[in-house]
Structure formats: C-alpha cells, structure tokens
C-alpha cells in the first residue's frame, strides 16, 4: 500500500509572550495508507501538537505535510476546514459531543456540511450508530450515556462522512478498562475491515498493542522511526 501521510522537516514553535518555544523539531515521518499508528511519549512531548498538525487543525512553523498528495500546510483556513470535513475524523479524550443534541443529531453534524438531503443524513447517521453498536441509543443525549457509549457516538460522528483518516487523541484516557477495550476493538475493526488509516495518541502501552505500529516522541523529536 502507498504512503498516505508524508511529513518532512516539520517544526512547530509556540510563542509564549516574548519567549519562543519549539515544541516539535525536524520531524520526518511517513504513514502508510491503512496503517494504525500509536503515538506514545511523556506528557508535554508534543504528541497533541503533532496530531493537530496531521489533522489540519493547526499550521506548522516550518516543513511540510502532505496527505494523500495534498500539501495541507499550504491551504488557507477556509480550504483547510473543507479539507478536514471530507478527509479527517476526530476523536478526543473527552468525547466533545454537543450536550443538547441527541446521539443521532451529534452524528449527523458533519453531514450538515454535505449536500445530502435530511433523509440521507438521517440514514447515514443511523448506519454509523449501528456500526458502533448504539442504534438503540440514537435518541439519547450525551448526558444519558456512559463514557464508553459517548466515545462510541464520537467515533460514529468521526466516520459518518467516510474520511480516509482518523486522528484520536488519547481516546481511552478517560475510560475504564472494559470501555477502553471496546473502543480500541472498534478502532481496530475500522482499521482492518473499513481500511481507515488511524493515528492515535496514547499513554497506555496496552492501548498501543491494538495498533500496527508504535512511535515514541520525546521532547519534540521522534525517537524510533517507523519501519513499515
């Protein structure tokens, strides 16, 4: 399989007042299409920063990121938003669902940006909820669901518009062991059966076992290079 993500000489600097802090230094990384990559490393090593750059949420200070041949570091804010909408699904540690909307409506959110009819949106969201095993909770609000269920709703939301790439920032960081295993199993299934390329940040070595590769980040530098 080909390379989906090509990262070259990537650097990210934050400015804290007058002080400049380089959080990522000269990161070079290729991620193959269909890979399930776990990104590990101590707190503050730059994992979230790297993930946000890969997902097109932030712009690098130097270097390039290509995803599926598209140089996303060269896109403007509007184009980047459109690119995210059709190419990336996001899964966060704290689920980040809309508390006022039902599970169904939460999953439909990304589809509001497509040309699909209301009926089509409903149908696709139902299919996604079915895939994560929550068809019977479609009308529940996030507050009426357990943490594990909320994270599965978030996964349904991430996959509903059928993106090639899923980025997950400590998706099991807030879950008990059983729920974590459910979520990880689900991600693995999405990777194996649906061909999703997944980049997952995690603290937990057990979680990393579900991935096909693991990379370590330390003080903004990759310590082990992937050998795909």
């Amino acid at each position: 399989m080909g390379t989906l993500i090509e990262i070259r000489d990537l650097a990210k600097t934050y400015e804290r007042g007058k002080q400049k802090v380089e959080v990522l230094h000269h990161v070079n990384l290729d991620i193959a299409e269909g890979d399930f990559l776990a990104l590990m490393g101590p707190s503050g090593s730059g994992k979230t920063t790297l993930l946000n750059l890969i997902g097109g949420l932030d712009a690098p200070s130097a270097g390039s990121i290509g995803v599926g041949g598209q140089r996303i570091d060269q896109l403007g804010a509007g184009a980047l938003a459109r690119w995210r909408a059709s190419n990336v699904g996001f899964i966060f540690q704290f689920y980040n669902l809309m508390p006022m909307l039902s599970a169904q409506r939460n999953v439909e959110l990304p589809l509001l940006l497509t040309k699909l009819s209301a009926a089509q949106r409903r149908k696709n969201a139902s299919i996604a909820l079915q895939l994560v095993g929550l068809a019977d909770r479609a009308s529940h609000k996030p507050g009426e669901l357990s943490g594990g269920q909320q994270q599965r709703v978030a996964i349904a939301r991430a996959i509903v518009s059928d993106p090639t790439l899923l980025v997950c920032d400590e998706p099991t960081g807030d879950l008990d062991r059983q729920s974590a295993e459910d979520v990880l199993g689900l991600l693995q299934q999405l990777n194996r059966e649906h061909g999703k390329t997944i980049v997952m940040v995690t603290h937990d070595p057990k979680a990393a076992e579900y991935a096909t590769h693991t990379l370590h980040l330390d003080k903004g530098t990759l310590v082990e290079q992937a050998t795909a």
């Binding site: 946000n52 949420l57 509007g78 938003a81 459109r82 995210r84 809309m98 909307l101 939301r157």
Partner: protein, 387 residues
Amino acid sequence: MKYLHLIWAALFRRKTRTLLTLVSIIAAFLLFGLLNSVRLAFSAGDSVDGAGRLIVNSRMSMQNPLPESLGARIATVPGVTAVASSNWFGGVYQDPRNQVVSFAVSQNYIDLYPEIVLPADQRAAWERTRTGAIVGAALAKKYGWKVGDKIPLQSTIFPSKASGNNTWTFDITGIFHAKSEQDAGREQLLLFHWKYFDENNAFGAGTVHWYVVKVADPAHADAVATTIDAISANSDHETKAQTEQAFQASFIKQLVNIGLIVVSIMGAVFFTLLLLTGNTMMQAVRERTSELAVLKTIGFSSRSVQVMVLAESVLLLLLGGLIGLAVVSLIVPGIGAASGGMIPVHGVSASTWVIGIALMLAIGVIVGWIPAWRAMRLNIVDALSGR
C-alpha cells in the same frame, strides 16, 4: 435553515437563563408596544374621512375663542346636518384638586351625542332652568349629587358677574348615563347652558371654544372639513376641523409631550435590555467555547460559526419581541375600552410591528456582534486544550 436545530439547541442550553432573558425581552417589547400605540393614537393623521362628528376649533390654540356667529355659517355648509357649541369652563368643586370636566354648551349639544342618555323630563327641566346643569352618573355618584341639588363650582378661568368672584352656582336638573361601556368616560362630564355662561361671564361675551359638527356622510367628512375651514380662512379666527380623536389628542398633548416620554422611557428600557441580553450572549458563547471549537474541527467555517451565533441572538430577540407585541395586541383593545375612549388605542398598528421588528433585529445584531466575532476568531487548538 438546516442549522436551525443547532441554533435552537444552543439557545436553550441553559433553559432558566434563556427564559429569564426572554421574559425581560417580552416585558421590554410589551412596554414598547403599549407606549408606541398610545403615541401613535395621539399623533393621528389629518384625515377626518369616516368621522360622523367633527370638532371645529381655533387653528392657533385650543384656548383661542371663536365668534358665536360662526355656528350659523357652519350650519349652511353642504353635508352638515347639525352644529352645537361648547366652551371650556375649568370647574373645580370645593377643593382645587376636585377638577370637574365642565362645558358650557348649546342646548342641542346632547342631540349630537346619542351615546349620552338623559330622561326626557330631565331634559325638559334643564331647558327650562337658566342655571340648570346636567351631570354624568359617575360624576354625580362621586360627589353624591342628586337632581334638585344646588352646587357651587369655582371656575379656574372665568369670574361670575352674579357672585363677583369665581364661584358659579348650578341647579342639577338631570343625570345622564352612557349608552355603552365604551363611552363611560362621558359620565364624568358636567354640562350647562352656554347662555348662562355667556351672560354671567365677566370676561366679555359672544365666544365659543369649539363647535361640534354632525356630518351627513362620514365618507365625505374631509371635504366638509375643508369647506368649514375655508369660511374663516384669512380671518383672525382661522379654524381647524378635526376628528374627536385628534381633538382629544391635541388636548392631552398640551399637557404632556407624549413623544418625548415614549422615547425617553424606551431609550432607558432598551439600553438596559442591551446590557442584559449582551451579557447573556457573552456568557452563552464563553461557556460553549469547546463546542464551537468542535464545530470548527469538524469543518464548519469560521464564517458559518459567526453567523450561527449572530442568528442565535437575533432569534432570541425575535422570540421575545414577537411574544411581547402579540400580548400587546391582545390587551390593547381592553385598555382602549377601559379608558372609556380617553386613550384612543384599538390595536397594534402595522407601523408598531414594523418598528418593533426592526428594533428586534437591530438589538439582536448589536448584542450578538461581539460574541459572534469571538466565535469566528476562536482558535481551535487553544480552545480544545482549554487555553
């Protein structure tokens, strides 16, 4: 439109706070609807078409008298079926605080007011009695007056020749009732003979403050009014024929500047509303920071997030404002009736709706502007990490 459910959900994320804010908006627009209806009622246009009765008074000022001889000339105008006259007396009873709305009128005055009901024998007695007065039932009840009573009134304006001071004596010869609830205001009146007023008035004679003119065809009242005013054109007593509502309005306008009152009250109310809803919207957006960041993460453009917040604030104002004006349109007819026609309001006019909706939109945009701008500028990465 497909975002409407998102906007609605955001609006009612904090039900109590939103409802409290809504109540303030409803109250503000309720006040606006009422005050503006009153203001409009008192600034009625010049057209008199549709009026069965016209009031003719001096164009210069309401207190300016007209010659008594004018009545006969008005009666000759085609389309006029009857003319009565009335003078302002300015009576008080016993205490300056007890104002009695008292008019010195021509004998046919009550013929022009079928809404006033006076028994025939009392009418006859009044016509026979030079110092006779007929009083509305409500006024009679207020001071315990009965037919046959002799009552003194002080005129705040006119000295009496008979008493040598401002005290005038009247014999109550009749008590009249209003035909319907709507005209209950007329039961506050005291009417007496213009002849007695004219002869006994130490301030010269032969003048009338206003004429009441009955028009044959209300649809052509405008033409009749023009002809009446033409009689006195270029004289020292030019007239203005107008509807009773307009006459009442100009009467009250002499006492208070309604437009100024409405504008200053509403200015204060809307300023408070601006601060209150502005605060609500600021808070609402601040506590939704991470939700807005998620919308952007998913791919919603900064512009669409901005528009959604702005729409939320406009929706809030429209919701409260429209409810407020709807309530006004329900209660205003009741107020008009309860005031016995003194406050000539009947419903919420189209212009009140238009001004009201324009205010809702304007306040909605002003109040939503800064929160919407913040939502637009929101940095996803900072917001997600709680920075």
